[in-house]
Protein backbone atom coordinates (compact mmCIF):
# COMPACT_ATOMS: atom_id res chain seq x y z
CA UNK A 1 0.00 0.00 0.00
CA UNK A 2 1.34 3.42 -0.98
CA UNK A 3 2.38 5.54 1.99
CA UNK A 4 0.49 8.85 2.28
CA UNK A 5 3.46 11.14 2.94
CA UNK A 6 1.25 14.24 2.95
CA UNK A 7 -0.78 12.85 5.82
CA UNK A 8 2.42 12.00 7.68
CA UNK A 9 3.76 15.52 7.19
CA UNK A 10 0.54 17.07 8.43
CA UNK A 11 0.90 15.27 11.77
CA UNK A 12 4.05 17.25 12.56
CA UNK A 13 3.31 20.56 14.33
CA UNK A 14 6.31 22.12 12.60
CA UNK A 15 4.62 21.44 9.27
CA UNK A 16 1.48 23.22 10.47
CA UNK A 17 3.57 26.15 11.70
CA UNK A 18 5.81 26.18 8.65
CA UNK A 19 3.34 26.08 5.77
CA UNK A 20 0.39 28.44 5.69
CA UNK A 21 -0.05 29.59 2.09
CA UNK A 22 2.96 30.01 -0.18
CA UNK A 23 2.57 32.44 -3.11
CA UNK A 24 5.84 31.36 -4.75
CA UNK A 25 7.49 34.76 -4.50
CA UNK A 26 10.91 33.15 -4.02
CA UNK A 27 12.21 35.44 -1.30
CA UNK A 28 13.19 32.36 0.71
CA UNK A 29 15.50 31.32 -2.12
CA UNK A 30 16.85 34.85 -2.44
CA UNK A 31 17.87 35.03 1.23
CA UNK A 32 19.03 31.40 1.56
CA UNK A 33 22.80 30.82 2.09
CA UNK A 34 22.42 27.23 0.84
CA UNK A 35 20.75 28.38 -2.39
CA UNK A 36 23.77 30.55 -3.07
CA UNK A 37 26.16 27.59 -2.87
CA UNK A 38 24.16 24.52 -3.85
CA UNK A 39 21.68 23.64 -6.57
CA UNK A 40 18.98 24.34 -4.04
CA UNK A 41 15.65 26.15 -4.32
CA UNK A 42 13.47 26.14 -1.20
CA UNK A 43 10.67 27.81 -3.17
CA UNK A 44 10.25 24.77 -5.44
CA UNK A 45 10.36 22.39 -2.47
CA UNK A 46 7.56 24.31 -0.79
CA UNK A 47 5.59 24.20 -4.08
CA UNK A 48 5.84 20.39 -4.22
CA UNK A 49 4.74 20.07 -0.62
CA UNK A 50 1.93 22.63 -0.94
CA UNK A 51 0.55 20.77 -3.98
CA UNK A 52 0.39 17.65 -1.79
CA UNK A 53 2.02 15.73 -4.64
CA UNK A 54 2.81 12.41 -2.98
CA UNK A 55 5.11 11.22 -5.77
CA UNK A 56 7.16 14.42 -5.75
CA UNK A 57 7.39 14.29 -1.96
CA UNK A 58 8.66 10.72 -2.14
CA UNK A 59 11.30 11.83 -4.67
CA UNK A 60 12.32 14.64 -2.31
CA UNK A 61 12.72 12.19 0.57
CA UNK A 62 15.18 10.19 -1.54
CA UNK A 63 16.99 13.23 -2.95
CA UNK A 64 20.12 15.25 -2.17
CA UNK A 65 18.00 18.41 -2.17
CA UNK A 66 16.50 18.26 1.30
CA UNK A 67 19.94 17.90 2.93
CA UNK A 68 21.44 21.21 1.70
CA UNK A 69 19.63 23.56 4.14
CA UNK A 70 21.80 24.85 7.03
CA UNK A 71 18.76 25.69 9.20
CA UNK A 72 19.83 29.31 9.75
CA UNK A 73 16.09 30.07 9.45
CA UNK A 74 16.66 33.35 7.61
CA UNK A 75 13.70 32.26 5.46
CA UNK A 76 11.35 32.61 8.43
CA UNK A 77 12.17 36.27 8.91
CA UNK A 78 11.67 37.18 5.28
CA UNK A 79 8.60 35.20 4.15
CA UNK A 80 5.76 37.71 3.60
CA UNK A 81 3.21 34.97 4.28
CA UNK A 82 4.69 33.77 7.56
CA UNK A 83 5.87 30.42 6.20
CA UNK A 84 9.07 28.72 7.38
CA UNK A 85 10.67 26.58 4.67
CA UNK A 86 13.32 25.55 7.24
CA UNK A 87 10.62 23.88 9.36
CA UNK A 88 9.32 22.03 6.27
CA UNK A 89 12.84 20.77 5.57
CA UNK A 90 13.01 19.44 9.14
CA UNK A 91 9.79 17.49 8.65
CA UNK A 92 10.95 16.09 5.29
CA UNK A 93 14.26 14.96 6.82
CA UNK A 94 12.37 13.30 9.65
CA UNK A 95 10.32 11.24 7.16
CA UNK A 96 13.36 10.49 5.01
CA UNK A 97 15.05 8.88 8.01
CA UNK A 98 11.89 7.19 9.29
CA UNK A 99 11.48 5.33 5.97
CA UNK A 100 15.20 4.72 5.38
CA UNK A 101 15.29 6.92 2.26
CA UNK A 102 18.18 8.99 3.62
CA UNK A 103 20.70 6.39 2.46
CA UNK A 104 19.64 6.97 -1.17
CA UNK A 105 21.63 10.22 -1.35
CA UNK A 106 25.25 11.20 -0.70
CA UNK A 107 24.23 14.04 1.63
CA UNK A 108 21.55 11.98 3.36
CA UNK A 109 24.01 9.19 4.14
CA UNK A 110 25.97 11.71 6.22
CA UNK A 111 23.34 11.36 8.96
CA UNK A 112 25.29 8.31 10.07
CA UNK A 113 28.42 10.42 10.69
CA UNK A 114 26.42 12.96 12.72
CA UNK A 115 24.76 10.21 14.77
CA UNK A 116 28.12 8.55 15.48
CA UNK A 117 29.72 11.82 16.63
CA UNK A 118 27.32 14.41 18.07
CA UNK A 119 24.53 11.88 18.65
CA UNK A 120 26.52 9.41 20.69
CA UNK A 121 28.34 12.21 22.51
CA UNK A 122 25.00 13.50 23.84
CA UNK A 123 24.24 10.21 25.57
CA UNK A 124 27.79 9.29 26.62
CA UNK A 125 28.97 12.67 27.91
CA UNK A 126 25.87 14.87 28.22
CA UNK A 127 27.26 17.39 25.71
CA UNK A 128 26.74 17.80 21.96
CA UNK A 129 30.35 18.98 21.74
CA UNK A 130 33.24 18.02 24.03
CA UNK A 131 37.01 18.51 23.63
CA UNK A 132 37.40 14.74 23.18
CA UNK A 133 35.03 14.89 20.18
CA UNK A 134 36.65 17.84 18.42
CA UNK A 135 39.93 16.02 17.85
CA UNK A 136 42.50 17.96 15.88
CA UNK A 137 42.94 15.24 13.24
CA UNK A 138 39.22 15.54 12.33
CA UNK A 139 39.27 19.36 12.68
CA UNK A 140 42.52 20.73 11.26
CA UNK A 141 40.64 23.88 10.26
CA UNK A 142 40.56 24.75 13.97
CA UNK A 143 44.23 25.75 13.72
CA UNK A 144 47.29 25.49 15.95
CA UNK A 145 45.73 27.19 18.97
CA UNK A 146 43.07 24.48 19.17
CA UNK A 147 45.80 21.86 18.70
CA UNK A 148 47.59 23.47 21.68
CA UNK A 149 44.39 23.43 23.76
CA UNK A 150 43.92 19.75 22.91
CA UNK A 151 47.51 18.94 23.95
CA UNK A 152 47.25 20.73 27.33
CA UNK A 153 43.53 20.70 27.93
CA UNK A 154 43.49 19.98 31.66
CA UNK A 155 45.93 22.83 32.41
CA UNK A 156 44.27 25.30 30.03
CA UNK A 157 40.69 24.63 31.09
CA UNK A 158 41.75 24.89 34.77
CA UNK A 159 43.44 28.20 33.98
CA UNK A 160 40.28 29.57 32.37
CA UNK A 161 37.89 28.66 35.17
CA UNK A 162 36.43 25.47 33.66
CA UNK A 163 35.97 22.20 35.54
CA UNK A 164 36.91 19.64 32.87
CA UNK A 165 35.70 16.11 33.64
CA UNK A 166 35.45 16.81 37.39
CA UNK A 167 32.53 16.59 39.81
CA UNK A 168 30.48 19.68 40.66
CA UNK A 169 29.35 22.70 38.65
CA UNK A 170 31.24 24.61 35.98
CA UNK A 171 32.12 24.43 32.31
CA UNK A 172 32.81 20.93 30.95
CA UNK A 173 32.11 19.33 34.35
CA UNK A 174 31.62 15.58 34.38
CA UNK A 175 27.92 14.95 33.85
CA UNK A 176 26.83 12.62 36.64
CA UNK A 177 25.57 9.15 35.67
CA UNK A 178 22.11 9.86 37.14
CA UNK A 179 21.75 12.77 34.68
CA UNK A 180 22.99 10.69 31.74
CA UNK A 181 20.49 8.00 32.74
CA UNK A 182 17.70 10.60 32.65
CA UNK A 183 18.79 11.72 29.18
CA UNK A 184 18.77 8.09 28.00
CA UNK A 185 15.31 7.56 29.52
CA UNK A 186 14.02 10.66 27.70
CA UNK A 187 15.43 9.35 24.41
CA UNK A 188 13.77 5.98 25.09
CA UNK A 189 10.26 7.36 25.69
CA UNK A 190 10.32 9.98 22.90
CA UNK A 191 11.58 7.82 19.99
CA UNK A 192 15.04 9.39 20.08
CA UNK A 193 16.59 5.96 20.66
CA UNK A 194 14.45 4.51 17.88
CA UNK A 195 15.75 7.14 15.42
CA UNK A 196 19.37 6.31 16.38
CA UNK A 197 18.61 2.62 15.74
CA UNK A 198 17.08 3.35 12.32
CA UNK A 199 20.09 5.45 11.29
CA UNK A 200 22.46 2.70 12.42
CA UNK A 201 20.58 -0.19 10.80
CA UNK A 202 19.85 1.52 7.48
CA UNK A 203 23.48 2.71 7.28
CA UNK A 204 24.70 -0.83 7.86
CA UNK A 205 22.55 -2.04 4.96
CA UNK A 206 23.89 0.76 2.77
CA UNK A 207 27.49 -0.08 3.72
CA UNK A 208 26.84 -3.65 2.52
CA UNK A 209 25.37 -2.35 -0.75
CA UNK A 210 28.46 -0.16 -1.24
CA UNK A 211 30.78 -2.98 -0.16
CA UNK A 212 32.33 -0.84 2.59
CA UNK A 213 33.40 -2.02 6.03
CA UNK A 214 31.11 -1.24 8.96
CA UNK A 215 31.51 -1.56 12.73
CA UNK A 216 30.12 -0.26 16.00
CA UNK A 217 32.75 2.45 16.39
CA UNK A 218 33.72 5.18 13.92
CA UNK A 219 36.88 3.40 12.82
CA UNK A 220 35.25 1.90 9.74
CA UNK A 221 35.29 2.45 5.97
CA UNK A 222 31.68 3.56 5.73
CA UNK A 223 32.11 6.28 8.38
CA UNK A 224 35.24 7.60 6.68
CA UNK A 225 33.43 7.61 3.35
CA UNK A 226 30.30 9.48 4.42
CA UNK A 227 32.30 11.90 6.59
CA UNK A 228 34.76 12.92 3.87
CA UNK A 229 33.35 12.12 0.42
CA UNK A 230 32.14 15.00 -1.73
CA UNK A 231 31.18 14.24 -5.32
CA UNK A 232 31.34 17.98 -6.06
CA UNK A 233 28.16 17.70 -8.10
CA UNK A 234 25.97 19.68 -5.74
CA UNK A 235 26.23 23.03 -7.47
CA UNK A 236 25.34 21.71 -10.93
Amino acid sequence: MEIDFCAELEQDVRFKEGLKACMNCGICTAICPAAELYNYDPRSIITSVQLRNNLQIKELLQSETIWYCGQCMSCKTRCPRGNTPGFIIQTLRKLSQQYGYFTHSEKGRQQYAIKKTVGENVLKKGYCVHPDLVSYDMHEEQGPIWEWVQQHKQAIYDRLGANLDKEGAGALRKIHKKNLDELQAIFDVTNGTELYTIIEEESKKQAERMNLGFSDNIDNEYFKHVYTYNSNTHSE
Binding site: V13, E17, P33, A34, L37, W67, G70, Q71, M73, S74, K76, T77, Q90, K94, Q97, Q110, Q111, I114, V118, G119, Y127, C128, V129, H130, P131, M138, E141, G143, P144, I145, W146, E147, W148, V149, H152, A155, I156, Y157, R159, G161, G168, A169, G170, A171, L172, I175, H176, L180, L183, A185, D188, V189, T190, N191, G192, Y196, V226, T228, Y229, N230
Partner: protein
Protein backbone atom coordinates in the same frame (compact mmCIF):
# COMPACT_ATOMS: atom_id res chain seq x y z
CA UNK B 1 2.69 65.39 14.44
CA UNK B 2 2.09 64.16 17.99
CA UNK B 3 0.18 61.21 16.62
CA UNK B 4 3.04 60.34 14.30
CA UNK B 5 5.54 60.43 17.19
CA UNK B 6 3.22 58.36 19.34
CA UNK B 7 2.91 55.78 16.58
CA UNK B 8 6.67 55.64 16.15
CA UNK B 9 7.10 55.08 19.87
CA UNK B 10 4.47 52.35 19.81
CA UNK B 11 6.15 50.71 16.85
CA UNK B 12 9.56 50.83 18.55
CA UNK B 13 7.93 49.39 21.66
CA UNK B 14 7.26 46.17 19.79
CA UNK B 15 11.02 45.77 19.34
CA UNK B 16 11.69 45.91 23.09
CA UNK B 17 11.87 42.99 25.46
CA UNK B 18 11.54 42.59 29.20
CA UNK B 19 14.58 41.02 30.83
CA UNK B 20 14.40 39.92 34.46
CA UNK B 21 16.42 41.97 36.93
CA UNK B 22 17.80 39.18 39.15
CA UNK B 23 17.66 35.48 40.13
CA UNK B 24 18.59 33.49 37.04
CA UNK B 25 18.90 29.78 36.34
CA UNK B 26 21.99 29.47 34.10
CA UNK B 27 21.81 27.19 31.05
CA UNK B 28 25.32 26.66 29.68
CA UNK B 29 26.33 26.29 26.04
CA UNK B 30 28.11 23.19 24.69
CA UNK B 31 30.23 25.15 22.20
CA UNK B 32 31.12 27.94 24.60
CA UNK B 33 32.22 25.51 27.31
CA UNK B 34 34.69 24.07 24.77
CA UNK B 35 35.91 27.16 22.98
CA UNK B 36 35.12 30.09 25.31
CA UNK B 37 35.03 28.66 28.86
CA UNK B 38 36.32 31.93 30.30
CA UNK B 39 33.39 33.82 28.74
CA UNK B 40 30.93 31.76 30.75
CA UNK B 41 33.16 32.18 33.82
CA UNK B 42 33.18 35.96 33.23
CA UNK B 43 29.40 36.07 32.83
CA UNK B 44 28.99 34.55 36.28
CA UNK B 45 31.75 36.77 37.71
CA UNK B 46 30.26 39.97 36.31
CA UNK B 47 26.71 39.10 37.36
CA UNK B 48 27.64 37.93 40.84
CA UNK B 49 30.65 39.99 41.85
CA UNK B 50 30.25 43.20 39.84
CA UNK B 51 26.47 43.53 39.70
CA UNK B 52 25.52 41.59 42.85
CA UNK B 53 22.99 39.29 41.16
CA UNK B 54 22.02 35.71 42.00
CA UNK B 55 22.72 33.14 39.29
CA UNK B 56 22.44 29.40 39.88
CA UNK B 57 24.99 27.26 37.99
CA UNK B 58 23.51 23.76 38.16
CA UNK B 59 25.77 20.66 37.87
CA UNK B 60 22.70 18.62 36.84
CA UNK B 61 22.10 20.66 33.70
CA UNK B 62 23.04 18.90 30.43
CA UNK B 63 23.13 19.72 26.74
CA UNK B 64 19.76 20.73 25.30
CA UNK B 65 20.71 18.49 22.30
CA UNK B 66 20.23 21.50 20.02
CA UNK B 67 23.07 20.75 17.61
CA UNK B 68 21.65 17.25 17.20
CA UNK B 69 18.14 18.64 16.70
CA UNK B 70 19.22 21.07 13.99
CA UNK B 71 21.18 18.33 12.26
CA UNK B 72 18.02 16.18 12.43
CA UNK B 73 19.22 13.24 14.51
CA UNK B 74 17.19 14.31 17.57
CA UNK B 75 13.37 14.27 17.22
CA UNK B 76 11.31 17.32 18.20
CA UNK B 77 9.57 15.33 20.96
CA UNK B 78 12.95 14.42 22.43
CA UNK B 79 14.34 17.95 22.56
CA UNK B 80 11.06 19.29 23.95
CA UNK B 81 11.40 16.82 26.82
CA UNK B 82 15.09 17.59 27.42
CA UNK B 83 14.23 21.29 27.62
CA UNK B 84 11.31 20.45 29.92
CA UNK B 85 13.83 18.69 32.19
CA UNK B 86 15.82 21.93 32.36
CA UNK B 87 12.64 23.77 33.32
CA UNK B 88 12.10 21.14 36.02
CA UNK B 89 15.62 21.74 37.38
CA UNK B 90 14.92 25.49 37.34
CA UNK B 91 11.62 24.93 39.19
CA UNK B 92 13.31 22.67 41.76
CA UNK B 93 15.91 25.41 42.36
CA UNK B 94 13.08 27.81 43.21
CA UNK B 95 13.78 30.03 40.19
CA UNK B 96 11.57 31.46 37.44
CA UNK B 97 14.01 33.23 35.14
CA UNK B 98 16.22 31.32 32.73
CA UNK B 99 19.45 32.78 31.33
CA UNK B 100 20.62 30.89 28.25
CA UNK B 101 24.26 31.05 27.17
CA UNK B 102 23.80 29.58 23.68
CA UNK B 103 21.96 31.24 20.79
CA UNK B 104 21.00 27.88 19.28
CA UNK B 105 19.55 26.85 22.66
CA UNK B 106 17.84 30.23 23.03
CA UNK B 107 16.14 29.72 19.66
CA UNK B 108 15.10 26.22 20.65
CA UNK B 109 13.70 27.22 24.05
CA UNK B 110 11.79 30.00 22.30
CA UNK B 111 10.52 27.67 19.55
CA UNK B 112 9.34 25.17 22.15
CA UNK B 113 7.54 27.77 24.28
CA UNK B 114 5.85 29.12 21.12
CA UNK B 115 4.87 25.58 20.11
CA UNK B 116 3.35 24.91 23.52
CA UNK B 117 1.40 28.15 23.26
CA UNK B 118 0.01 27.28 19.81
CA UNK B 119 -0.39 23.55 20.47
CA UNK B 120 -1.18 23.01 24.18
CA UNK B 121 -1.48 19.27 23.58
CA UNK B 122 2.28 19.24 22.85
CA UNK B 123 2.93 20.68 26.30
CA UNK B 124 0.74 18.03 27.94
CA UNK B 125 2.44 15.27 25.97
CA UNK B 126 5.85 16.61 26.99
CA UNK B 127 4.81 16.70 30.66
CA UNK B 128 3.81 13.03 30.36
CA UNK B 129 7.07 12.09 28.62
CA UNK B 130 9.17 13.87 31.25
CA UNK B 131 7.31 12.32 34.16
CA UNK B 132 7.52 8.86 32.62
CA UNK B 133 11.27 9.22 32.02
CA UNK B 134 12.35 11.08 35.18
CA UNK B 135 9.39 11.54 37.55
CA UNK B 136 10.07 15.28 37.29
CA UNK B 137 7.48 18.08 36.88
CA UNK B 138 7.98 21.68 35.87
CA UNK B 139 6.67 25.23 35.72
CA UNK B 140 7.18 27.36 32.64
CA UNK B 141 9.75 30.13 33.07
CA UNK B 142 8.39 33.61 33.70
CA UNK B 143 11.28 35.20 31.87
CA UNK B 144 13.56 33.79 29.19
CA UNK B 145 16.67 35.72 28.19
CA UNK B 146 19.80 35.12 26.24
CA UNK B 147 22.84 36.03 28.34
CA UNK B 148 23.67 38.84 25.90
CA UNK B 149 20.23 40.32 26.73
CA UNK B 150 21.31 40.43 30.38
CA UNK B 151 24.68 42.08 29.71
CA UNK B 152 22.82 44.55 27.43
CA UNK B 153 20.35 45.28 30.25
CA UNK B 154 23.21 46.17 32.60
CA UNK B 155 25.42 47.88 29.99
CA UNK B 156 25.16 51.29 31.64
CA UNK B 157 26.01 49.88 35.09
CA UNK B 158 29.05 48.22 33.50
CA UNK B 159 29.95 51.52 31.80
CA UNK B 160 29.85 53.28 35.19
CA UNK B 161 32.39 50.80 36.57
CA UNK B 162 34.51 50.74 33.40
CA UNK B 163 38.27 51.13 33.59
CA UNK B 164 38.68 51.34 29.81
CA UNK B 165 36.54 52.80 27.04
CA UNK B 166 36.32 51.55 23.48
CA UNK B 167 38.47 54.40 22.19
CA UNK B 168 41.97 54.53 20.74
CA UNK B 169 44.32 55.25 23.63
CA UNK B 170 46.52 57.45 21.42
CA UNK B 171 43.90 59.49 19.56
CA UNK B 172 40.81 59.32 21.76
CA UNK B 173 38.78 58.37 18.69
CA UNK B 174 36.13 55.65 19.11
CA UNK B 175 37.04 52.18 17.86
CA UNK B 176 35.29 50.95 14.73
CA UNK B 177 33.33 47.87 15.72
CA UNK B 178 31.28 45.51 13.57
CA UNK B 179 28.81 43.14 15.18
CA UNK B 180 27.42 39.78 14.16
CA UNK B 181 24.29 38.42 15.79
CA UNK B 182 23.58 34.69 15.72
CA UNK B 183 20.72 33.82 13.34
CA UNK B 184 18.67 31.99 15.96
CA UNK B 185 18.72 34.97 18.34
CA UNK B 186 15.87 36.81 16.58
CA UNK B 187 15.43 35.67 12.97
CA UNK B 188 12.96 32.97 14.00
CA UNK B 189 11.06 34.87 16.70
CA UNK B 190 11.81 38.60 16.26
CA UNK B 191 9.79 39.73 19.28
CA UNK B 192 12.05 37.66 21.56
CA UNK B 193 15.20 39.64 20.69
CA UNK B 194 16.07 43.21 21.67
CA UNK B 195 15.44 45.25 18.52
CA UNK B 196 13.98 42.24 16.71
CA UNK B 197 15.50 40.82 13.55
CA UNK B 198 15.51 44.14 11.70
CA UNK B 199 17.08 46.52 14.24
CA UNK B 200 18.91 44.33 16.74
CA UNK B 201 20.31 46.48 19.52
CA UNK B 202 21.67 43.80 21.79
CA UNK B 203 25.32 44.19 20.73
CA UNK B 204 25.31 47.67 19.21
CA UNK B 205 23.84 48.95 22.50
CA UNK B 206 26.83 47.58 24.40
CA UNK B 207 29.32 49.00 21.88
CA UNK B 208 27.93 52.53 22.06
CA UNK B 209 27.44 52.42 25.85
CA UNK B 210 31.11 51.54 26.27
CA UNK B 211 32.38 54.26 23.92
CA UNK B 212 32.80 52.51 20.57
CA UNK B 213 31.36 53.27 17.14
CA UNK B 214 29.13 50.70 15.41
CA UNK B 215 30.01 50.25 11.74
CA UNK B 216 27.34 49.00 9.37
CA UNK B 217 28.35 46.65 6.55
CA UNK B 218 26.34 45.07 3.73
CA UNK B 219 26.31 41.46 4.96
CA UNK B 220 25.77 42.35 8.62
CA UNK B 221 22.80 39.97 8.89
CA UNK B 222 24.22 37.13 6.80
CA UNK B 223 24.69 33.78 8.55
CA UNK B 224 28.22 32.99 9.82
CA UNK B 225 27.92 29.71 7.95
CA UNK B 226 27.75 27.13 10.75
CA UNK B 227 24.86 25.42 8.99
CA UNK B 228 24.94 22.51 11.48
CA UNK B 229 25.43 19.45 9.19
CA UNK B 230 27.34 21.77 6.86
CA UNK B 231 30.13 22.00 9.43
CA UNK B 232 29.72 18.79 11.41
CA UNK B 233 30.53 16.66 8.36
CA UNK B 234 33.97 17.33 6.92
CA UNK B 235 32.78 16.94 3.32
CA UNK B 236 30.39 19.89 3.72
CA UNK B 237 32.69 22.46 5.30
CA UNK B 238 33.05 24.45 2.07
CA UNK B 239 29.55 25.78 2.83
CA UNK B 240 30.62 27.01 6.23
CA UNK B 241 33.87 28.71 5.22
CA UNK B 242 32.25 30.28 2.12
CA UNK B 243 29.63 32.04 4.20
CA UNK B 244 32.19 33.38 6.66
CA UNK B 245 34.33 34.52 3.71
CA UNK B 246 31.36 36.47 2.36
CA UNK B 247 30.88 38.25 5.69
CA UNK B 248 34.56 39.05 6.15
CA UNK B 249 34.88 40.36 2.60
CA UNK B 250 31.85 42.56 3.19
CA UNK B 251 33.24 44.14 6.37
CA UNK B 252 36.84 44.50 5.13
CA UNK B 253 36.44 47.95 3.46
CA UNK B 254 35.34 49.45 6.80
CA UNK B 255 38.59 48.46 8.60
CA UNK B 256 36.96 47.21 11.78
CA UNK B 257 39.11 47.11 14.93
CA UNK B 258 37.27 44.00 16.05
CA UNK B 259 34.13 41.89 15.57
CA UNK B 260 31.64 41.45 18.43
CA UNK B 261 29.34 38.40 18.45
CA UNK B 262 26.68 36.94 20.73
CA UNK B 263 26.58 33.40 19.36
CA UNK B 264 28.92 30.56 20.38
CA UNK B 265 29.33 29.05 16.93
CA UNK B 266 29.62 32.41 15.17
CA UNK B 267 32.43 33.56 17.47
CA UNK B 268 34.31 30.32 16.90
CA UNK B 269 33.79 30.13 13.15
CA UNK B 270 34.58 33.74 12.35
CA UNK B 271 37.80 33.36 14.39
CA UNK B 272 38.90 29.96 13.08
CA UNK B 273 37.87 30.37 9.45
CA UNK B 274 40.10 33.46 9.21
CA UNK B 275 43.01 31.09 9.93
CA UNK B 276 41.76 28.56 7.36
CA UNK B 277 41.30 31.21 4.65
CA UNK B 278 44.79 32.57 5.35
CA UNK B 279 46.22 29.05 5.02
CA UNK B 280 44.24 28.28 1.86
CA UNK B 281 44.50 31.59 0.01
CA UNK B 282 47.14 33.64 1.87
CA UNK B 283 44.40 36.18 2.45
CA UNK B 284 43.49 38.17 5.55
CA UNK B 285 40.81 40.82 5.93
CA UNK B 286 42.81 43.40 7.88
CA UNK B 287 45.67 45.66 6.80
CA UNK B 288 48.38 44.00 8.92
CA UNK B 289 47.96 40.34 7.94
CA UNK B 290 47.01 39.39 11.48
CA UNK B 291 43.26 38.89 11.06
CA UNK B 292 40.41 40.75 12.74
CA UNK B 293 39.98 39.85 16.43
CA UNK B 294 36.59 38.32 17.31
CA UNK B 295 35.27 38.89 20.83
CA UNK B 296 32.34 37.61 22.82
CA UNK B 297 30.30 40.20 24.73
CA UNK B 298 31.53 38.85 28.09
CA UNK B 299 35.14 39.13 26.92
CA UNK B 300 34.48 42.72 25.92
CA UNK B 301 32.68 43.55 29.16
CA UNK B 302 35.51 41.99 31.18
CA UNK B 303 38.16 43.97 29.28
CA UNK B 304 36.21 47.19 29.77
CA UNK B 305 36.01 46.39 33.48
CA UNK B 306 39.79 46.05 33.65
CA UNK B 307 40.08 42.26 33.96
CA UNK B 308 43.38 40.89 32.63
CA UNK B 309 43.19 39.68 29.01
CA UNK B 310 44.66 36.24 29.78
CA UNK B 311 42.06 35.70 32.54
CA UNK B 312 39.42 36.51 29.91
CA UNK B 313 40.73 33.72 27.66
CA UNK B 314 41.91 35.73 24.64
CA UNK B 315 44.96 33.46 24.30
CA UNK B 316 42.80 30.59 23.02
CA UNK B 317 41.47 32.61 20.11
CA UNK B 318 43.26 31.85 16.85
CA UNK B 319 43.30 35.54 15.92
CA UNK B 320 45.57 37.14 18.48
CA UNK B 321 44.40 40.27 20.28
CA UNK B 322 47.57 42.20 21.16
CA UNK B 323 46.99 44.85 18.45
CA UNK B 324 43.53 45.51 19.82
CA UNK B 325 44.80 45.64 23.41
CA UNK B 326 47.48 48.12 22.33
CA UNK B 327 44.85 50.26 20.62
CA UNK B 328 42.73 50.27 23.77
CA UNK B 329 45.75 50.97 25.99
CA UNK B 330 45.14 47.80 28.00
CA UNK B 331 48.42 46.52 29.49
CA UNK B 332 49.28 42.81 29.33
CA UNK B 333 52.16 40.62 30.35
CA UNK B 334 53.25 38.38 27.47
CA UNK B 335 55.03 36.08 29.93
CA UNK B 336 51.67 35.17 31.48
CA UNK B 337 49.92 34.37 28.21
CA UNK B 338 50.68 30.66 28.03
CA UNK B 339 50.82 29.62 31.67
CA UNK B 340 48.73 27.25 33.76
CA UNK B 341 46.68 28.19 36.84
CA UNK B 342 49.76 27.99 39.07
CA UNK B 343 51.77 30.22 36.73
CA UNK B 344 53.91 27.42 35.26
CA UNK B 345 54.94 27.99 31.64
CA UNK B 346 53.26 25.66 29.14
CA UNK B 347 54.87 24.68 25.81
CA UNK B 348 54.05 27.35 23.23
CA UNK B 349 51.50 26.74 20.49
CA UNK B 350 52.66 26.37 16.90
CA UNK B 351 52.38 29.44 14.68
CA UNK B 352 50.23 29.54 11.55
CA UNK B 353 52.04 29.71 8.23
CA UNK B 354 50.25 32.71 6.78
CA UNK B 355 48.70 34.55 9.70
CA UNK B 356 51.00 36.96 11.51
CA UNK B 357 50.99 36.71 15.32
Amino acid sequence: MDTAIHTEKETWGTYQKHVADDNYYYARSCIRQNFFPASEYMFLHILRKVLGKHVYDDPNHTTCTGIGYHSDIVPFETIQTVVARHFALMTEAGLENIAISCVTSFGIYTEILETWQHFPEQLEKTREFLYKATKREFNLPKNIAHTSDIIYKFRHEIAEKAVYKLVHAQTGEPLNVVEHIGCHYAKMFPTKGIGGAEFPQVLSGMITAWGGKVIDYPERRHCCGFGFRNYLVQANRGYSVSNTYKKLESMQPYNPDFILTNCPGCAMFIDKWQYTIAEMEQKTFDSQGKGIPVLTYEELAALVLGIQPWDVGLQIHQIQSESLLDALGIPYDTALKYVDKQGNQLPLPNKPNNLLQ
